[in-house]
């Protein structure tokens, strides 16, 4: 029974690696341009600090998940891994919240501030951002499940 849980936990870590990598790649390749009245308007993720934060946070989570796959589960490091898991889970939730706020603004705009939506002009960019956010959501849920498993480990009587 414990072996099934450990295999499931390893699969969760692999899923976290894949999801964070997908989020980074899809957001980093989002680029679209449109011409309005002879002026070329470009949409890149670097123009918005919230999306840059999203890419950086998922990048850090990807590197961390990759490193953690190679650490044996009974060494001294496994305690500090629990702390880092929680920190990174919170970093990812903050990143997806910030990107979500920007995405909602890009799609609906804010008529009170005179900010017009941009998704009808640069649909390719918006599709990429949406795809990256879906991968980011999957990564967040995976990290939260990993944190729950860590708490279960900490509370079990066999914890060293």
């Amino acid at each position: 029974m414990a072996k099934v849980w450990r295999v499931f936990f390893l699969l969760l870590r692999l899923l976290a690696v894949a999801a964070t990598l997908c989020a980074v790649v899809i957001m980093a390749t989002s680029h679209d341009s449109t011409t309005v009245f002879g002026i070329t308007l470009e949409a890149k993720f670097q123009h918005t600090p919230a999306l840059v934060f999203f890419v950086v946070a998922n990048g850090i989570a990807f590197i961390y998940s990759l490193i953690v796959l190679f650490i044996p589960s009974t060494s001294l490091l496994s305690r500090s891994i629990i702390v880092f898991d929680v920190i990174l889970a919170m970093l990812l939730t903050a990143a997806i919240a910030a990107a979500g706020a920007m995405a909602q603004l890009g799609k609906k705009g804010n008529s009170h501030a005179g900010w017009f939506p941009i998704c009808d002009r640069v649909p390719n960019f918006c599709d990429h951002v949406m795809g990256a956010m879906i991968c980011g959501c999957v990564a967040v849920i995976t990290f939260l499940l990993i944190v729950l498993y860590d708490i279960h480990q900490v509370l079990s009587p066999k914890f060293p």
Binding site: L41, E42, A43, K44, H47, T48, P49, A50, F53, V83, V86, M90, T93, A94, A95, I96, A97, A98, A99, G100, A101, M102, Q104, L105, G106, N110, H112, A113, G114, W115, F116, I118, L144, V147, I151, V154, L155, P157, F159
Partner: protein
């Protein structure tokens, strides 16, 4: 049986255990103050400016522009998240005598993490909106609004700072309660 009970009371009267409990209660109280300040400040954040848009003859035509927190979904979520967090903290502090059971303490710890996630996401979304309101985005032709609605921005900024302080306090509280839960492992068979 008497020996186990004696061991339990001895465990709970150890100085570090009392310190941990005292720290937890004070952290929760501070987080309650911080999140309720953030929610309240943002909920009453409204500014109206009246400007002359045209002059017809000698009569100026006035139009008033309002900046309120309801106009931005991120700020609405911010207010809701901080309100839920402060209500939850208040409830837990009031119900402390009923939560001596270990199962209930684990439940409170899990709900603590959920509430912490709420506050963090609310603060992150509001921070990205605030950055946009302050600096604008010239590529999307979104002009900043903080130069025109200064009081709105300042109040929003203070609410945001309070929410971040509340989030840090909630994080410390989560970490400390994990420590508190782990060190009670020996007494779990008494509950």
């Amino acid at each position: 049986m008497a020996d186990e009970n004696g061991k339990q009371t001895e465990m709970e009267s150890r100085p570090w255990h009392q310190t941990v409990t005292l720290l937890l209660v004070s952290l929760r109280l501070a987080a309650l103050v911080a999140t309720s300040t953030a929610a309240g400040l943002m909920a009453f954040n409204k500014e109206t400016k009246t400007v002359t848009v045209a002059v017809v003859g000698t009569n100026p035509i006035l139009q008033s522009f309002t900046a309120a927190f309801q106009q931005t979904p991120a700020f609405v979520y911010f207010v809701l998240a901080n309100a839920i967090a402060s209500l939850y903290n208040l409830l837990v502090m009031l119900l402390r005598p009923c939560l001596k059971n270990r199962g209930r303490q684990v439940l409170v710890h899990l709900l603590d993490m959920v509430v912490f996630a709420l506050v963090v996401t609310g603060a992150a979304a509001a921070a990205s909106m605030a950055e946009l309101g302050k600096n604008g985005n010239k590529y999307a032709r979104w002009n900043p609004i903080c130069d025109r609605f200064e009081a709105f921005c300042i109040r929003g900024g203070v609410a945001l700072v309070a929410a971040f302080i509340g989030a840090v306090l909630l994080l410390l509280m989560n970490a400390l309660s994990v420590v508190g839960l782990t060190c009670k492992n020996v007494t779990s068979n008494n509950n």
